[in-house]
Structure formats: structure tokens, C-alpha cells
């Protein structure tokens, strides 16, 4: 059984106890514990079930590489699945549940998969659930989804807050072990600005746990002094609980700081995402110990040898009174010493090497521990926890020599440098034969914008596993990084430490070497995804030779593991199955983030009201107070209609249309784009921008214009007013203002840069209010001021003047077909002007109207709307707008494209009006069907609906659409699709349904 030892545990505070819950059971731990150490202290060896076979699983590791001990933390809207117990700091009232089991952790139905595991090999789903095809969607997938998945997702909004912050530094050091501290000290002393991030709450890494000495001091003391020195440097920032999540192009890096996960009651954002630009990144991310692949290596109680040391030294917790050690290298012997020092029993050291000798091995032997060379574990035995191990010869096929009873197995397959950050941005790796691992190739680093390497490995992450060489390398790395960043001060002395002599490691990928299939089916490579040695071998046998294909076929190293524990062992198995050397097989791609980061931290502050900034017109508040039913238009909110108490949206829209047609309506048109184009070449420029001639427009006049892309397609429309000889005001659509301004600037800056033209986007400088309807003139005249008569200000003209007390620019333009004045006043006077109009208009029956009434009235008049009648594939000629395309101009944007054969094809669908035969409303986007089917067996179509409304004016459904040869087919009745089946009939008519002579707007 695992238990808390009577003494020891450098990180825990034994004087205090805290209570937490695991699967509803109340347990006790100490401040300083992780959830994993506290669970082990309570003899909770079984902490979860595996993903595919639902096998019992226990804690394997002590850090971020933990594949098994994933729990759902917290309750309700704070519940978070897949949290590693090994990196979760214990706090009072912590609430955790294990995952992947039903109905309970100890009695799990899904374990039947384990009994069937022989029938669930790699690619099982791909092979089995192919036929019949509809079964996948309706039978197989729903069932598999039910039984798969790593924990449930919370279903309520996250109540916590998150933030982003930025840092610009010379040197970012990732990893707060002794190598990272050394590099940070060297860079900081040299004068560089430094940011050091450490993912855990402790600095010093393995050196402190393993009792090393640096500069003649205990590593713990050295670390304390180093932190003190860094703290005294004003240009150095040291962050704990902050993980270097990813390294990206040109020195960009993300660091993920967890501020309150260990203390939920703190008043602070929960997570903070640091967006860092560093001139150099020092990667001091250490190394991970590798598991060994023997049968039953996933049974609870089988742990990494280094993790066993961590639990004993850091938390005073042991996985069992008696531990069996299995290894292929020297480092596991440190675990034997640690256990002996804690008065625990070491059952034996099983060493796969034929023979080995080093001071460390001799020291273990001299303390009376049985050490067997050339031996292996054939099989770990036990169900919910290990009780013994069957021992065999490493070179054999697994013939059992003896059973050794034990409560835990500490394994070490050697170490792999953590090279993720090196690889995120393209750094390449070399295979190191001696250590049997990939290490960063210093000649092929990730490159910055100057073509220079910007990531510098330090310590174990660079492949320097011995302490002395690691510190020397790290010092050099810090100094070089600072110097590259322009800080060439004195980096101080290199910390001195011993690198003890070690016997060479023997690569062991399968234990024993010639294990039969029955054993290989129980050798886990990837605990989290339940990938075994036999699965990778099967994938190779079935032709998955690329490591990337094998990964996807078997799921090796996928999900949160990202190859931390499984990578090298899996590659080695694949390479031997393919009979190719490991470096040839290569690695899969390491992708950020290094370990998962919260979705909240990615979103940062950008949620709710500030997800996207809202643009408000000067009259926005009035709309909000008067029943506005909002419609998002670009970043604006515009009133769709103004609902009165007890009124439906449909009724409100109909009322607004009718009132405007019969009396007078008021529209907030402030969102329309207003771009000023000025300069001696302004007319020439606008002739290129618009399809029609703008240079001939007279001062004081307005003209409707169309804009096309160079592809010929219609992109925007609006009224242009010539303000003076060299000045034009171009109105754009609401959503198009910024885009069209950018479009103009692009052509001016990159093609016609010698033309004398300036543009400026004045959209927000003015409030623009349309006063529309038969009484419009009367309302404005009541306010007094400038002459607004038909003689003084005829249709399609504009004038500056005063209306009442307001400085106004009045445009006689109409998008409704009614008598209409669009009045622009300075934005700051917009609300007052609106209020004044409502006051004087009351006697005339004035009512504001929204965008839907605007749409209906323009459709009744057959006016097109960008985004309804156009979709990026429509040219003006399709819309019957030939009158707005100049024949006199040599050139305009889109002119050449519009004579391409496809554009000039008479079979293109063209704009018509549509009138349902029974007065109902066509569906938006409905297709006009033809007889017959196309090559795909689909009904042929000959047109589609682009705008469709119920017209309150006409009391019936009206629509516009694009129909093949439409204008030549007036009076023909077409059949239109309906969602859910059935057809609707409509007659082709003129798109102008109302006042086709234009008499009402021109009075």
C-alpha cells in the first residue's frame, strides 16, 4: 500500500492538515501536497480508468508528463475535466472526481473492453465500422461517442476571469531548474532584460530532489541564493506557476500563468496568458524519464523511478513498503538510495544490462540490495495494484525464472530531453546514440527574422544530462543569448558541480527482447491512449510506415500526452518493425501548447460585451430606450424596428412602412459610410473606382454609383455628392465603409501613387438622419432655416445650410421612393437634431423606422441591396444596371473582367421581380426549379430568390431574384423550392413594384 511516511517531505507542512474530496470521499492532506501525492498518502493507488480498455490506472509520474491521473476538478460551472493530479496543488475543500468509469471507479462496465482487447487492435474502428454506410452516422458513431472521451465538458459559462498581458524581453528562459536559473543569472548579469518562467511552484528541478551539490553548497541553498540574486536585478522578472506554452515565428512565445488554481479564494484573474516577444529563448525544460515496455507496465503501482524519488523526498509519501526497481541505466539506482534512506525496502534492482559498474551501483550493492544484471520483468502482476513481478532474462522470450513480491515497481528506461519548444518553430533534432534520445541540433535551430537561430537549449533539454556539464552549458547559453540580444556585460562565473561517472545505458525498447505476442499485447507505450507495443507493430505490418501515419492510425502520442512519455519508445518499436534506424523514422511533430492551456486564457478579456467592440451611433441610446429590436450590421447595432408594447415584430415593421409611405418616417442612417475624396485628380480617380462617370458630376449634384472589384463583381454602391471642384463625398454601405476606404487607399498607394488625391473616412464625424415621406418637407420647414423647396433643392442635389439651430448638409436622395431628405449634422448634434425632429414632427404623425422597413421599401421600389442581390459573383449587368455603367470611359476597375466570355454569357441569371400567385411570401434563397436532373441526380435549377418580403403597401409577398433569361420571360410562372418540401409558384414581373414612374420621390 502507498502511504505517508512518518518523516520527510521537504515541500509539505506537516503541522497543518487540509481536507479534500475524491469521488465524494473525504480525505486529508497537507499544504504543499499535490493532489497526486495526497491521494498516494491515502493509499489511493487506483485513480482512473484508461481511455479505450477502461483498465485500472494509477499515478505514474510526478509532473506534467502524467498520463493516467487525470481528474475532473471542481463542481458545476467550475468543473474542469482532464486535470493532472500531479500538477494540481492541493488546497482546502478541493473537489475531484476520476474519469472514464461507469458506474464507479472500482466497478466499471467498460472494462469488458479490456477482456475484448485482443479484438480491439489499432485501427479497429476504421476496419469494423465501414459498412453499411448509413450505420456509421446512426448506429456506430453515437454508441462509440458515448463510451469514448476524456471526461465530460462543463455545460455552463465559466464564472472566472482571465487576462492577456504582453512582455518584450531580450531573453526568455523557460524552465526554473538549476539550468534555467544558471542561464537567467548569466543573461541578467550581462545586462539583458530577462523573463524566467517555471511551470510549477518550485524552482530547482531534479537537482534539489536528488541532493546534488553546486558550488560546494546543497542544491537547495544554491537555488535560494540564485533566486535572491535574480530578485535583486531590476531587469529580471521571475514567474512561478507559469508554463512556457509555445514558441512561434520571430521570437514570439506564449507563457501560461496560473494565478489562483492553487488558491481559489485569491482575488485575481484565474489564468494569465503572457504574449512575449523575446530576442532569444533559452530552453531549459529538462528531460523526462522513459517507461520500460514490459507486460502489465500500466498496473497501478508501476511508476517512473524518478517519480518515486519525488514522492518520497518532496512529500514524504511512498508507493509501498517494498519497491522493485527495473532499469537499463544508472539513474534508477538513485531511487534505491532514496528508498533506503527513508527506511523503505528495495525488493531488488533488476538491471537489463548484461553488466555494469559505477560508483552509484557499488554504493547500492554495498547497502545490501540485491542487484540482478541481464534480467527483465516478464510481467507485472496484480489487478488494481501490483503485488509481484515475474522475472526473466532480458535476452529471452519471457520464460519466468521467479516471482518477486513487491508493492510498487520503479522503472527507468533512460531519459529524453524535453525538446518540444525547440521543435514548435522548426528546430531540428539529432539522434544521440549514447543516451538513446533526440537532442536539439545546434546547427539547425529555429530561425528568427534575421535568419539567426533564436532558441538556445540549456541543461538536460539540450541533452546534457550530467549536472556539471548541464550547468556549464546553461551558463554559456545564457551568456550567448544575452550577447546576441546586445547585452555583453560580465556574465559572472560558471557554477561548478560534479558530473558523476555513470555506466553506459543500454537501449531497451521491449522487455524481454523476444517477448511473445501475448506479452506484447500487455506492454503499454501510450498509457493515455491505450496504445501497446503490438499496436505499433501491427500498424507497421499493415503498411503505415510514416511515423505521422502510425501516430494517427494508433493514436500514439495524441491528445494531451503529445509524445511526452510515449514518443521515443513508440518510435523505437516502429523503427525495429520497419528495420530502419530510429533517426530515419524520425519523430512526429511537436505542436504547441506544451501542456493544455485553458480556453479562458486563450479568450482573455475578450468575452461578453467586450468580445467585439460595439459601434454606436449618436442616437443609439434613444433607440435602446424606445423599443429597438436590434440587428447587427458590421460592428454596429441598428434597430430592425421599434416595437411598441404588445406589438409583434411583424406588426411593428408593417406599421413603420405604412406610416412612412402615408405620412413621414425617420431613419438613423448615421452608419452609412462617408468617405471624402479630395485633390486635383479626385474626379479621375473616382472614374476608375466607379462604373459610372463621376468626373462629369456638377458641384451641388448627387449621383448613384456602383463599385466593382478588378474581377468585375459588384462590391459596393452608394450616392456620390460633389462638394466642390476637387472634393467628392462618397457614401458607402454600412458594412462597407472601412473596406471601401481600404480599397481606395490600396489603389492610390500601390498603383496610381502619382495621382494627387487624398481620402479620409468621415463616417463617424456626422450623424445622418433620413426624413422620409409625403410630409418630410413640411416637418423640416417647421424647424425653419434653409430653403428646401423643390425649386431650391431638386431631387439628386445637396446643399449646406441651417435647419433650425443645426448646421446641416442636406441630400435630396431617396432609397424608399418617397420624398426624402438625408440630413447630416455634426455627430455631437445628432441626438438633439433627432429629438427636435420628433418634437416638430409629432403633429405630422412622425415615427422612426428601422432597417426592415428600409429593406421593404427599397424592395418595393426594385432597388438592389449589396449582400442580398450581390454575393461576390454578381456583376452590375446581371442586375439590369447598364444605365449606371459608363460607355464613354476607357477604363474602370472591373471593366476588362466584365468582357470575359463567362461574364458576357447571355445565359447568366438576371434580376427580375417575383410575385407569388397566391400572395404568400417566397423563402429567402429559394431556387427556381427546372424539369430534369443534373449529373449528380439533383433537380436542375434556373434561378434563385435574392430578397423576399411581405409588402404592407401591396398587401402581398414580393421578391427579387436572379433568373436565367429572366427579363425576357415576363409573365412566366416559375416553381420555387421550400425548406421541408413542397413548391411555391411565382410570376416573373418587373422588379419595380411601386411608383414605377418615380413621381413620389421627385416632388
Amino acid at each position: 500500500m502507498s502511504q505517508r511516511l512518518p518523516t520527510g517531505g521537504r515541500l509539505i507542512d506537516r503541522s497543518r492538515q487540509i481536507t479534500f474530496q475524491f469521488n465524494e470521499e473525504y480525505l486529508k492532506g497537507h499544504p504543499g501536497d499535490t493532489l497526486a501525492s495526497a491521494l498516494l498518502a491515502n493509499d489511493k493507488m487506483l485513480v482512473g480508468r484508461s481511455f479505450k480498455y477502461h483498465r485500472p490506472r494509477g499515478v505514474v509520474a510526478s509532473g506534467a508528463e502524467e498520463p493516467n491521473a487525470l481528474v475532473a476538478l471542481g463542481k458545476s460551472n467550475r468543473m474542469e475535466p482532464n486535470q493532472r493530479a500531479t500538477t494540481t496543488e492541493l488546497y482546502d475543500r478541493l473537489y475531484a472526481r476520476s474519469q472514464n468509469h461507469w458506474p464507479s471507479l472500482h466497478f466499471d462496465i467498460g472494462w469488458i473492453n479490456n477482456l475484448l482487447s485482443r479484438f480491439l487492435p489499432a485501427g479497429f474502428y476504421y476496419k469494423t465500422f465501414m459498412h453499411p454506410r448509413p450505420f456509421w452516422k446512426h448506429v456506430f458513431e453515437p454508441f462509440i461517442r458515448q463510451s469514448a472521451g476524456l471526461g465530460p465538458a462543463p455545460d455552463k459559462p465559466d464564472p472566472d476571469t482571465y487576462e492577456h498581458t504582453y512582455a518584450h524581453v531580450d531573453v526568455l528562459v523557460v524552465g526554473g531548474g538549476v539550468a534555467g536559473l544558471t542561464a537567467a543569472l548569466a543573461a541578467g548579469r550581462a545586462g539583458a532584460s530577462v523573463m524566467l518562467v517555471e511551470q510549477s511552484a518550485q524552482f530547482g528541478g531534479r537537482a534539489v530532489v536528488d541532493g546534488d551539490e553546486i558550488d560546494g553548497q546543497a542544491a537547495g541553498i544554491w537555488v535560494k541564493n540564485a533566486l535572491q540574486e535574480l530578485d535583486n536585478m531590476p531587469s529580471v522578472r521571475v514567474l512561478d506557476r507559469t508554463m512556457g506554452a509555445g514558441v512561434y515565428d520571430h521570437g514570439y512565445a506564449l507563457a501560461y500563468e496560473r494565478l489562483t488554481d492553487h488558491a481559489p479564494d485569491l482575488e485575481a484573474p484565474r489564468h494569465r496568458l503572457w504574449r512575449v516577444r523575446a530576442k532569444r529563448v533559452v530552453m531549459a525544460s529538462g528531460a523526462y524519464e522513459r517507461p520500460l515496455s514490459f507486460g502489465g507496465n500500466d498496473i497501478p503501482g508501476v511508476m517512473l523511478a524518478s517519480a518515486v524519488r519525488d514522492y518520497v523526498v518532496n512529500y514524504g509519501v511512498s508507493p509501498g513498503p517494498s519497491t522493485l526497481i527495473v532499469t537499463n541505466n544508472d539513474s534508477a539506482y538513485r531511487t534505491a538510495l532514496t528508498l533506503l534512506d527513508a527506511s523503505l525496502d528495495v525488493a531488488a534492482v533488476i538491471d537489463a544490462r548484461e553488466t555494469a559498474s559505477s560508483p552509484l551501483i557499488e554504493q547500492v550493492k554495498s547497502r545490501g540490495v540485491r542487484v540482478d544484471f541481464g534480467k527483465a520483468i516478464a510481467k507485472a502482476k496484480g489487478v488494481n495494484r501490483v503485488h509481484s513481478a515475474a522475472i526473466c532474462a532480458q535476452t529471452g522470450d519471457g520464460t519466468v525464472l521467479e516471482d518477486i513480491p513487491c508493492d510498487a515497481i520503479a522503472m527507468s528506461g533512460g531519459w529524453s530531453p524535453v525538446v518540444h519548444l525547440w521543435s514548435h518553430c522548426g528546430g531540428k533534432l539529432n539522434w544521440d546514440e549514447a543516451g538513446a534520445f533526440f537532442r536539439p541540433d545546434p546547427d539547425r535551430p529555429p530561425l528568427d527574422q534575421n535568419g539567426e537561430g533564436f532558441v538556445v537549449p540549456a541543461g538536460a533539454a539540450g541533452g546534457d544530462l550530467g549536472l556539471g556539464v548541464a550547468l556549464a552549458g546553461a551558463h554559456g547559453a545564457g551568456k550567448a543569448a544575452a550577447s546576441d540580444a546586445g547585452a555583453a556585460g560580465d556574465a559572472g562565473a560558471t557554477p561548478e558541480a560534479e558530473t558523476p561517472a555513470e555506466a553506459p545505458l543500454k537501449p531497451v525498447w521491449v522487455m524481454p527482447e523476444n517477448a511473445k505476442i501475448k506479452l506484447r499485447q500487455k506492454m503499454w507505450l501510450d498509457y493515455q491512449n491505450d496504445v501497446k507495443v503490438s499496436d505499433v507493430q501491427l500498424a507497421a505490418q499493415e503498411g503505415f510506415q510514416s511515423v505521422e501515419h502510425t501516430k494517427r492510425y494508433t493514436t500514439l502520442g495524441m491528445a494531451t500526452d503529445q509524445g511526452k512519455l510515449s514518443n521515443i519508445n513508440g518510435l523505437a518499436i516502429l523503427s525495429s518493425a520497419l528495420s530502419e534506424p530510429i533517426p530515419q523514422v524520425g519523430t512526429t511533430t511537436f505542436r504547441p501548447p506544451f501542456t493544455p492551456i485553458s480556453m479562458g486564457s486563450i479568450a482573455g478579456e475578450a468575452r461578453g460585451d467586450i468580445f467585439q467592440p460595439l459601434r454606436r451611433t449618436p442616437i443609439h441610446d434613444w433607440h435602446a430606450e424606445n423599443g429597438a429590436h436590434w440587428e447587427p450590421v458590421g460592428h454596429w447595432r441598428r434597430p430592425y424596428c421599434f416595437q411598441r408594447p404588445g406589438e409583434s415584430v411583424e406588426h411593428a415593421v408593417a406599421r413603420e412602412v405604412t406610416n412612412t409611405r402615408l405620412k413621414v418616417g425617420l431613419l438613423d442612417a448615421s452608419t452609412l459610410g462617408k468617405i471624402l475624396v479630395k485633390g486635383s485628380d479626385a474626379g479621375k480617380f473616382l472614374d476608375m473606382m466607379y462604373t459610372n462617370m463621376m468626373s462629369s458630376l456638377k458641384v451641388g449634384r448627387c449621383r448613384y454609383g456602383l463599385m466593382c472589384s478588378e474581377n468585375g463583381f459588384l462590391i459596393d454602391d452608394g450616392v456620390v455628392a460633389r462638394l466642390s471642384e476637387d472634393t467628392f463625398l462618397c457614401h458607402t454601405t454600412t458594412g462597407g465603409a472601412d473596406r471601401i476606404h481600404g480599397h481606395m487607399e490600396e489603389w492610390l498607394q500601390t498603383e496610381w501613387w502619382d495621382w494627387k488625391v487624398f481620402t479620409v473616412n468621415l463616417t463617424e464625424q456626422f450623424a445622418q438622419i433620413a426624413v422620409v415621406g409625403p410630409k418630410a418637407r413640411a416637418v423640416l420647414e417647421k424647424l425653419g432655416g434653409m430653403d428646401l423647396s423643390a425649386e431650391a433643392l431638386p431631387f439628386m442635389t445637396w446643399a449646406d445650410g441651417k435647419i433650425g439651430v443645426f448646421d446641416a448638409r442636406v441630400f435630396r436622395i431617396s432609397f424608399s421612393g418617397e420624398l426624402s431628405y438625408e440630413v447630416a449634422v455634426p455627430a455631437g448634434q445628432g441626438r438633439a437634431f433627432w429629438d427636435a425632429l420628433l418634437e416638430v414632427g409629432a403633429g405630422f404623425g412622425i415615427m422612426p423606422y428601422g432597417t426592415e422597413a428600409l429593406h421593404i421599401m427599397r424592395a418595393e421600389k426594385g432597388f438592389i441591396m449589396i449582400g442580398d442581390e450581390t454575393d461576390g459573383t454578381v456583376i452590375p449587368q446581371d442586375l439590369g444596371l447598364h444605365w449606371a455603367i459608363s460607355k464613354k470611359k476607357d477604363d474602370y476597375l472591373g471593366k476588362r473582367a466584365q468582357v470575359r466570355s463567362h461574364m458576357a454569357n447571355p445565359d447568366r441569371w438576371q434580376l427580375v421581380g417575383l410575385e407569388t400567385t397566391d400572395g404568400t411570401v417566397l423563402e429567402d434563397g429559394a431556387y427556381a426549379v427546372e424539369t430534369g436532373v443534373n449529373g449528380n441526380g439533383q433537380t436542375k435549377v434556373q434561378g434563385r430568390v435574392t430578397s423576399t418580403y411581405h409588402s404592407p403597401t401591396l398587401g402581398r409577398g414580393i421578391a427579387m431574384g436572379l433568373v436565367r433569361h429572366g427579363p425576357d420571360r415576363m409573365g412566366e410562372v416559375l416553381s420555387f423550392t421550400r425548406i421541408g418540401g413542397g413548391r411555391q409558384e411565382a410570376k416573373i414581373v418587373s422588379p419595380v413594384f411601386y411608383d414605377s414612374e418615380g413621381e413620389k420621390q421627385n416632388v
Partner: protein, 106 residues
């Protein structure tokens, strides 16, 4: 995330401040041009492995368009320069040749 120095305002700008504009130094073909010339201008773009000239706009900054010479493999930036030119400056071409001896301007 790329860093490019805007040659107008001098800011070393994050990619998020910039808007990409595709291949640089296109020659516009307008009305009267041959179909193949127009097709080349409108649709055909280089996609080189190595040195590439691009258009960028400092969209969330000074708003100016500019040109950048960049290696599409290593993301090394050889330089940025004015949008108001039909070819890269000689000094920049010389610098690229020095760094990429195998490269020939096309």
C-alpha cells in the same frame, strides 16, 4: 507570428497589425488586353520555395501599404521597402543574392 518593420512609420509590427496583400509587383492589364495577359494579372501567382516579394499593409497602424522580401522557407525577412516602386531596390537585391547565392531574380 511574423515581425515586419513598416518602412513608413518605422514601427516593428506584429503580424496581427498587418494585412497581407499577396504577390508584389504585378503589372495591371486593363481594357483591350489579351485574355492570357489579363488572366495572368488577375489569377496567376507565384508560390516560390524561398525568396518572395510580397505586399503588406500596416492596417492596424499607419495604414500604409509596403513591400517585404521574405524567405518562405525560413521566414527570414530580407527587408521592407516602399510600395511605390515597380521593382525591389538594388541594394536589397544585392543583399538577398549575398544571403541566397542560388537565387536568381525572376
Amino acid at each position: 507570428m511574423l515581425l515586419l518593420r513598416c518602412p513608413y512609420c518605422g514601427v516593428e509590427a506584429d503580424e496581427t497589425e498587418l494585412a497581407p496583400g499577396g504577390q508584389a509587383h504585378l503589372t495591371r492589364f486593363g481594357p483591350g488586353s489579351e485574355d492570357t495577359d489579363f488572366e495572368g494579372y488577375l489569377f496567376m501567382r507565384k508560390n516560390p520555395r524561398g525568396v518572395h516579394f510580397e505586399r503588406w499593409r500596416h492596417a492596424a497602424g499607419c495604414g500604409k501599404w509596403f513591400h517585404a522580401a521574405r524567405c518562405t522557407v525560413t521566414l527570414e525577412v530580407f527587408g521592407t521597402y516602399s510600395a511605390q516602386t515597380t521593382e525591389p531596390p538594388d541594394a536589397l537585391v544585392a543583399k538577398i543574392k549575398e544571403k541566397r547565392p542560388d537565387w536568381t531574380p525572376t
